[in-house]
Every structure is written in C-alpha cells, then in structure tokens.
C-alpha cells in the first residue's frame, strides 16, 4: 500500500545546481514597451466612443423625422438645429438662458452655504447630527417643486419663489453628502490633524472639508442636477418673472404657439447646459482636485 501512494518520503531529493546571472539588463528595450495601434487607442478614448453614440442617435432622429414628415409632432434634427440657430441669432435663447442661470446661481450658492453651516453644526455636536439627519430625512424625499405653490403664496410670482425652491432642492442633497463625507474621514487623518494643533473652524476648513471632498463634490453634482431640473420645471409652471421668463418659459411659450422645432431647441439647450456643467465644469474641478490627489479614479 505505502509503496503505491506518493508520499514525500518516496522521492529522493535531487540537489540541483545553483546559478547566478550577471547578464541581465541586456533585454531589448523595444520589447518592454510597445505603442498600441491607432484603432485601439481611439477605441480606448471614452470621448471617441461617446461621440459615436451621439452621431448614431442624431442619424436615427433625422431618419425618423423625415419618415414621419410631421414637424408639429416630431421635427427633424435639421429643423430643430435650424430653430435653435435662429433663436440664438435673434438673441431669444441667450437672454432666456441668462435669466435662468442668474436665478440658478443665486439659489445654488445660498443652498451650498446653508448646507455647509448645517453640516458644521452637525459635526460639532450629537444633537446637531440628529437635527441634520431628521431634517434631511424629511426634506430630501420631498420633490422641491412640490413647495412651489407654497412659495408662490409666501413670496409671490417672481424670483424669490424660484430661489426658495432651488435652495430647497440643493440644501438637503449637499448637506447629506457633506455629512457622510465628514463621517468617512479616517481616524488616523483626524488624529494627525489634531497633533498639528488644528482645532475648531480651522480643523473643519483645513482638514475635514478637503478630506471629505470626493463626497462633497458628489453632493454638489447631485445638488446641481436637482436645482437645474427643479428650476426648469418651476419656470414651466409660472414662467414670467419681471416680464422676462427663462428657458422653461421659452419651451412653454413655443408649445402654445405650436412651434415644435423651437420647443425641441429649448429642450436641447437645457440638455446642453446640463452636459456642459457636468462634463466641463465639474470635470474641470475633479481633474484639479480629487483626481489629482488620487482620491478618485477614472
């Protein structure tokens, strides 16, 4: 039995010769690193792949529009671009866009400042934490637009109502993310900061905020998206403020005129602004901060 099974003592240990090489480093270097072919480099670029997708969507849109041949229901891409161009050239879309962005920036900035104050209170005491988590639990699921009727009652038709609604859409999302970010800062980093003698507001500003920046940035992005959507929706509902509406009102107006290509042009503008803020502004901030610091990949 024992002779059939392969146990360690069945084998004779063969002593093999040792060796040591002195000729390493002679490897041909062009083999270590080789350039990828152009097609592969292009395909690896996400911008290239996304452009392809956009092109495909544009072609499908155009074909469907031509086939349907009913510009009042579904205008072609070229009709839409034509309307977009006309409205940009005659200054309608730029003025509407600026009107909308003005309200947005005011609301967004107020919302972010309030969120920072709330979160600072929340991290400095237990009751503050409870206050923030209760308030976010109450208001975060509430679509900010639902507050619009109330806002109209309180502030009347006009910019203050819009700002109130935007502040509500930004504040809770940003505060929630900021607070989560603060909680994820590691003990080691906190202790390191304390041994330097950082305390109070300096501790929050110089340690907690940058350490939590990936989460804060995520909150800012979500807050932005909420604010943008809420604002366009709010403008659709009551539109004109001080005689000059924003983009939402532009869309509503042109629907009433049955100018569907202009409606599409308005929607396209809303999307473009969204893409621009996400893909250019936030991307720029990310590249300058969390990506550069190795706190976020990709």
């Amino acid at each position: 039995m024992a002779q059939n099974t392969a146990t360690a003592d069945n084998f004779d240990t063969v002593i093999r010769a040792e060796y040591e090489r002195t000729d390493i480093g002679d490897a041909k270097l062009e083999d270590v690193q080789r350039k990828l072919p152009l097609s592969e480099t292009l395909w690896n670029s996400s911008a290239f792949r996304k452009t392809l997708i956009l092109l495909a969507l544009a072609i499908i849109w155009q074909i469907y529009g031509v086939w349907l041949d009913n510009p009042m229901i579904f205008p072609t891409l070229t009709d839409t671009l034509g309307a977009l161009w006309a409205n940009i050239v005659n200054g309608t879309i730029p003025t509407r866009l600026i009107a909308t962005l003005k309200v947005l920036v005011v609301g967004y900035v107020i919302g972010v400042i309030l969120a920072t104050i709330f979160t600072t209170i929340a991290v400095s005491s237990r009751i503050g934490t409870d206050l923030l988590s209760t308030l976010t639990a109450m208001f975060n699921p509430l679509p900010a637009i639902a507050l619009l009727p109330l806002a109209l009652l309180w502030f009347g038709l006009g910019t203050p109502s819009l700002v109130f609604v935007i502040v509500n859409s930004v504040l809770w999302a940003v505060a929630l993310n900021m607070h989560t970010g603060f909680l994820t800062v590691s003990d080691t980093m906190r202790m390191a900061g304390q041994t330097f003698g950082l305390r109070g507001m300096r501790y929050v500003v110089q340690l907690l905020i940058p350490a939590a920046f990936p989460a804060i940035l995520a909150g800012l992005k979500i807050g932005w998206a909420f604010a943008w959507r809420t604002l366009i929706a709010a403008e659709l509902v009551f539109g004109v403020s001080s005689g000059q509406g924003g983009l939402g009102w532009f869309i509503f107006e042109n629907r009433n005129l049955l100018d569907t290509p202009a409606v599409f042009a308005g929607l396209l503008t809303v999307m473009s602004v969204g893409l621009f803020v996400e893909g250019v502004i936030f991307r720029f901030i990310e590249n300058r901060t969390v990506r550069k610091w190795g706190m976020q990949r990709g």
């Binding site: 340690l207 350490a211 920046f213």
Partner: protein, 278 residues
C-alpha cells in the same frame, strides 16, 4: 494572574541605578497610568498602573503582544486619551490634549493629506503653528532632504510607495521639532526588506538629530534594534513586565549572538508569561 512589583532587569552594561527619582534629563514621566476605553458592550482596561520615565535622547520602545495596551498608551501620551488614574507629564507639565510638541507617526499610510504635495504636507503643521511661510518651506526642505525624498518634493502622496509615505510622515513630524517623536508601529504595514531599510534610516536620522523617540512595536527584533531601552508590557491589562537596556545594539551587530540572546530573553518574558497564564 500574579501581580508583581515592576522589577528592573538591567543588562550588565549599566549598573541598576536607572530608577533614580526625577533624573535631571528626565523628559516624559508616566506615573501610575491606568487607561480604560469603552466598546459598545464593555469597559476595557488597556493598561493598569503603568509607570516609567523617558529621558532626553532615549529611543524608548514599548513592546508587548497585542492586547497589552501599548498603542493606547502611546495615544494617551499624544494626548488623545486622558488616563483614568495617574498622570503623564512632559517636561513637568501635565499632558491634556494633542499638540505639536508631541509629533506622531502612525502605522496607516493615510496619515498624509492627499491634497497636499510632499513639501506641503511637511510644511503644513509648521504653518498651522504660526511659522512663517518661508521658514516653514525651508525647514520642510531640510527634513525632506534628510529622508532622501528631495526628488519627490512636488509629488502627491498617492504616487509614493508605502515606505516613502512613512518617510514623509517622519519628515513632517521632525520638521515640527517636537520634544518627543511618537511612532505607533510605523513599519508594520511594510514588506520585510523595506522595513529593514527604514529601521536603518531611522537610526541614522537619530545619530544625526539626537531626538527623543517613543516607538511602539510587537516585533522583538525591531525593539532590540531600534531601542536604547525597552519597556516590556504583559497583556490583559497592560502592566510593566520589565525595562531592558538595548543601547548596545544597532544594525551592525544585529546578527551577533548577544543580539539573539537578548531577543530570546525577551521572548521568554512574553511567552513564558502567556504559558503560565493559560
């Protein structure tokens, strides 16, 4: 478990007069310190009436198995945890909270601030403590040079290896010119080759600057190599088992039989204890 009075087991090199009261070069006094912390279910006693003195220029090692409270003790010296009994005095002043006079190097690599470059990381605590920008930068440069990272001045921490990050942390701590440098198992997360290199570098940095070091480790070899004096702690709760002089050892005689004998003697204390306890 039997409780013994702390006994001083001096090696033959120095005569056993180390426990003289308030020696003139005594820097840090730990007097009967009991430390407790709470978990959600338990109140844990980490150390029980631990007493020892650290002198200026000591490389003082806190050694013991896990559960002996050595890291907790170091955090208490740093000011993160007030003792429930006894007190900790630095230069005769009671330690109450963390401060730049007790710089700390942690085991974890995330002690560096990822949004600051190597240079900014080292200069940051100086600026926090009111050192002018020019002087802070200059002191940072000097310390970075001492840990051989001049080439990586403007690199962000995520691009550095583990060993380099620890070197930056040491440079950052030393740039503060602290009264004492506290190190909490700083090399435990490094590979063996890097660890050995870092130990040698720490010793030559000490030769150069002659600072006071408190070093926590669970590696007996590391303790004997790094330390001039070792405090051996027994676990559950941490109590002083022995204090041993090891200033005669460095990397040049780390292969000597005396080095091995000292390690074996400490191993006997730690594991002999464990065998009788269970």
């Amino acid at each position: 478990m039997s409780y013994q009075d702390p006994t001083r087991l001096d090696s033959g090199i120095t005569t056993g007069t180390a426990q003289s009261v308030a020696a003139p070069n005594s820097l840090l006094n730990i007097n009967g310190v009991t430390l407790q912390y709470k978990t959600p279910e338990h109140l844990v006693t980490a150390t029980y009436r631990v007493t020892f003195d650290i002198h200026t220029g000591d490389r003082f090692v806190l050694l013991g198995p896990s559960g002996c409270g050595k890291s907790t003790l170091l955090k208490s010296i740093a000011g993160f945890m007030p003792p429930v009994e006894g007190d900790i005095e630095l230069k005769g002043r009671k330690v109450k909270r963390p401060g730049p006079d007790r710089a700390m190097v942690f085991q974890e690599f995330d002690q560096l601030l990822p949004w600051k470059t190597v240079r900014e990381n080292v200069a940051f605590p100086l600026k926090v403590n009111g050192v002018s920008k020019d002087e802070a930068d200059q002191r940072a440069m000097q310390m970075i040079e001492k840990v051989n990272l001049t080439k990586f001045l403007d690199v962000y921490p995520h691009m550095l290896s583990g060993g380099m990050k620890q070197r930056v942390a040491i440079a950052r701590a030393m740039a503060m010119r602290p009264d004492v440098l506290l190190m909490d198992e700083p090399y435990a997360a490094l590979d063996a080759l890097t660890r050995r290199k870092m130990q040698d570098e720490l010793l030559s940095l000490w030769e150069d600057l002659r600072f006071t070091l408190v070093f926590v480790t669970h590696s007996i070899e590391e303790a004997v190599l790094i330390g001039t004096r070792i405090l051996v702690l027994s676990p559950h709760p941490g109590q002083v088992r022995a204090e041993i002089n090891t200033h005669q050892f460095d990397s040049r005689n780390a292969d000597s039989p005396e080095f091995a004998a000292t390690c074996a003697r400490i191993r006997g204390m730690l594991f002999g204890d464990a065998e009788t306890a269970h």
